[in-house]
Point group: C2
Chain length 343, copies 2
């Protein structure tokens, strides 16, 4: 069978350009589209037919790819909740779930290639989006059905993805802190390789800029998304010459860890420092203090990623789409108005 | 290839008898063993060879079968934690994980048959054990590698299983309540189809019997294991003519729900009623009050079930074994000495 790579080579363009031509991307000139389409026809490359022939040998299985090892992921209740949404839809349509267990990007890529090549799954859900990700490129190039939880950094118009409005919601939570009188607001968590971190950082910056507050890189602590560094984050914050009075945190588990570490240092939340966070874990409702957090509709992210993946598996001609799941700030007790004497 | 069923038919015994002969069970007479072995030889049935020929076409995938839908299971942090253990070992040995999504026993059985027949997995972990389970029988009859988290109700000597000492640990937690002066102790949660419920009920009864306290069926509320009925349990308890002063609960999530429902009725834990529970979810450390709970070594249950499954996949002649994971009562603040005036 003719591959997208062969088409690209023959047409003297990058494989991603061929994908864009297939997706009829406005970023490709009509002239290039014409040339690529001629080559596709000449070589007998039919993207939809190819996808169909894969689907024909159905496994009724969905591959679910996590950003790190499943082991690490399962420490954070976010992933079981996404999987709960995936599972509801998979069960309704009688699909099974194949979980990746790789730890490094290389291992994960190998697993995906083996899923695609070994016809182990009919389609794949990527539970993350990175700024550079050869796995996503690979799936595109092979015309293999997949959906993404998160915003694709490239080829946004030719990939079906399910995301939150991360810029908007982070802007809103930063404004919430600004309205409480805070101006020294730290941003903690996330890895800048992930698009979600970039988008949230953008929302944070926009809120500061509109409030006329200058952005300070020293207040930004980005690293791994999934827990494990609350203590380090608190330590780093304590060493700042001018300590922030509020924190935007990217994950509830991290927030809870930080609250615990602050306690050890006799710094009280929310009296001495305010914290807002993401994911609205059920833990956050019962914790002390209850955590103000963004409900990102985790179940729905998984459910809809599965729904649109199965749609794509069963009808390869389905148009790609971007779906935004509403997010909501759940106000609890982890933030307080700034009292100038507090710190 | 000759199946275990054909051997059974020819030898005029049940297929499970053939399995027991293969496992050299002491429950089968020497005479029957002799006859079955002759038939096996005559028909050319080699149980280990059969298992090996399956393993030869390796998928490097483990099937993980949950007692209900994955969707329901993922509401309870117990399952992600078991999966975390499974995932650690699967990743270390480069196996992927295939999750069942079925809701009913029939659906789950169908999924297992399709995993075995479609050679989708090299082996299976059953995350539960029922008193009657045709899925377990099916796996035995087909000589397909599998391990069980829980105690098999039958064929204990020919199945590799990972379990806690559920009788002993429940006896211990009931004695803990007895030592606090409680004599009216309810038992809430679990389904008597599951062996784990039967074993825990046995431990509870043993503790009562040794303390000279009569067992009262009206204090026993068994139903589904995974949450969803804390409110109903509290309602049922409130309607008893003589209300218990302490409760043995089979799952932390259920215990937390019950504590919430008691609060609504102005009944305080532990002042008015004491609660002990199982699973030691991380939630239970941070809840109000912090919950006294049994740490059953959830991660290890998953990890070792995977370790011994892979051992079995890679060497079908591995002897079956029963592994007991230590469990520990973690004392927190949900139990208090009985104050006679409390209720």
């Amino acid at each position: 069978m003719v591959t997208i790579k062969e088409v690209a080579k023959e047409a003297k363009v990058a494989p991603s350009t061929v994908s864009r031509v297939i997706a009829d991307s406005p970023r490709i000139s009509e002239k290039t589209k014409q040339r690529v389409k001629e080559v596709m026809e000449r070589l007998g490359y039919y993207p939809n037919l190819q996808a169909r022939s894969l689907a024909a040998k159905s496994t009724r299985t969905i591959g679910v790819i996590m950003p790190a090892s499943a082991e690490k992921a399962f420490q954070n209740p976010f992933f079981p909740e996404v999987l709960r949404g995936i599972s509801r839809q998979a069960h309704a349509t009688k699909y099974g779930i194949y979980l990746s267990t790789g730890t490094t990007q290389d291992e994960i890529h190998e697993e995906v290639v083996s899923m695609v090549m070994g016809r182990r799954v009919d389609g794949i859900i990527l539970l993350y989006s990175r700024t550079t990700d050869r796995t996503m490129e690979y799936l595109m190039e092979n015309g293999f059905p997949f959906t993404v939880v998160g915003r694709p950094y490239r080829n946004k118009n030719s990939i079906t993805y399910i995301d939150n409005d991360n810029v908007g919601i982070t802007k809103q939570m930063t404004e919430y802190l600004l309205n409480l009188g805070h101006t020294e607001i730290a941003f903690v968590g996330g890895n800048r390789d992930f698009v979600v971190t970039i988008d949230r950082l953008k929302g944070y910056r926009e809120a500061l800029a509109e409030a006329g507050i200058s952005y300070r890189e020293q207040y930004i602590f980005t690293n791994d998304m999934v827990s494990g560094n609350g203590k380090d984050a608190v330590k780093a914050l304590m060493e700042l010459p001018s300590r922030p009075t509020a924190i935007v945190t990217l994950d509830d588990l991290l927030a809870h860890e930080m609250i615990g570490s602050f306690e050890v240092c006799n710094i009280r939340v929310p009296e001495d420092i305010s914290i807002v966070s993401f994911n609205n874990l059920s833990l956050s409702e019962h914790s002390n203090p209850p955590l103000t957090s963004i409900d990102i509709g985790t179940f729905n992210l998984g459910y809809q990623a599965t729904q649109y993946l199965i749609e794509k598996i069963e009808d390869p001609e389905t148009e790609p789409k971007g779906v935004i799941i509403p997010a909501e700030l759940i106000e609890r007790k982890s933030c307080a108005p700034l009292i100038l004497t507090a710190l």
